[in-house]
Subunit: 227 residues, 2 copies
């Protein structure tokens, strides 16, 4: 029917938008509650790392758990960049925003702990295929006045109001662009609130940014070919 | 003249090729001499991190030193991926190679030491604009039978034969693709030999992969706008 095709086309539209994404930057420790649960200090300036665009999925593609690793959900507000820029002043930063999305910053927590302990890069812990599920893109008046939550199998795990961010959207855009040029469709994940925890094959993750987007991802084990 | 335009078009051609690059993966500690000079252990499996595609430059764009940081040259052979794949077996890996290039994996060494000490990501230390200079792309019979060297202001700083790599091209492609899907025009930097050291504004960096490519980059301070 026509309405089925409408849903399918909207899904394809967002997948094609994200195919333009060159890089995903992710802020660490941007909510005091999460910094505390990770036994980390709250930073003096925004701290960020990178995830590959190849890790992006959109519904209905499932989340894949590789090699039985301990994979944690991190619920985050994503900023979608609308035009290229570097050294963007905070006062102009909002004009670089095309919209927002709900994101999961999936993390192989054991590998991340090991990397932290050894002073090694976080790339593998954060970069597996399917480790950056993203919702469709929405626009809103104030990105710091959003309620968002995440459930695993219907049980509430994370819930926050985005006013709790330590560093806000203009500061994040200005800071990252002082290091590297931001491009159209680059994605910035703004950090996770407390309540992160493991997901495994068979789980269903649902999440909402209230009034804007609702998502659902199933979790499966990553199939490996015999080599 | 026609020959000037020929040179200009060839430069533009390679810049347009690299505009298709989605991600740059870089191998750490792949030459025993460099692991030793960094007081690092030689790894049991390939170790890699990511650089943003926004850090790629080609001649004649200069290398920019941001904020008077201590920036080290690292001379590396780059693999240019020719088709998309994941879980690529070593036995098929060479069919995913489109060609090779000479690369510099520029590194803000002070920031990298600090990140290592604190267990933080390497993203900023490796990811500034202009931190991934690349030559034009070439093809060759055997990527492990290449002589390459780098000079700063005419003085030899790094020199190696690519047979000294610890993990070779098929293993690197197979390993990275077991984590994340490799895409057409993704770039893999295969690690640096010993002899890394600082460059600063006013320096001229020259480098060659003998018989294939010769490059020259000038070094300037990154201009910052008044914010
Ligand atoms: Mg791209
Ligand atoms: Mg996160
Ligand atoms: Mg290197």
């Amino acid at each position: 029917t026509q309405s089925t095709w409408g849903v399918h086309l909207r899904t394809m539209l967002h997948r094609s938008l994200y195919s333009l994404t060159s890089k995903v930057l992710a802020i660490g420790r941007n909510y005091a509650g999460h910094a505390k649960e990770m036994k980390s200090e709250v930073p003096q300036a925004p701290m960020f790392f990178m995830k590959p665009a190849s890790s992006i999925i959109t519904e209905p593609h499932p989340i894949e758990i590789p090699d039985k690793l301990v994979v944690h959900h991190e619920l985050e507000l994503a900023i979608i960049i609308g035009k290229s820029g570097r050294d963007i002043p905070e006062s102009e930063a909002m004009s670089y925003v095309a919209g927002y999305a709900l994101a999961l910053d999936l993390t192989a927590r054991d590998l991340q702990w090991e990397a932290k302990k050894k002073g090694l890069p976080w790339t593998v812990a954060k970069g597996y295929d399917t480790f950056t599920p993203l919702s469709k893109i929405f626009t809103c008046e104030d990105p710091h006045d959003l309620n968002m939550w995440l459930k695993v199998n219907g049980e509430l795990r994370q819930k926050t109001h985005t006013s709790d961010m330590i560093f806000r959207v203009p500061r994040l855009i200005s800071h990252i662009s002082s290091v590297m040029t931001l491009k159209e469709m680059d994605v910035i994940l703004t950090g996770t609130p407390e309540g992160v925890g493991p997901i495994q094959a068979g789980d269903v993750v649902t999440a909402e940014i209230e009034g804007h987007v609702a998502v659902e991802w199933s979790v499966v084990d990553r199939a490996r070919p015999r080599l």
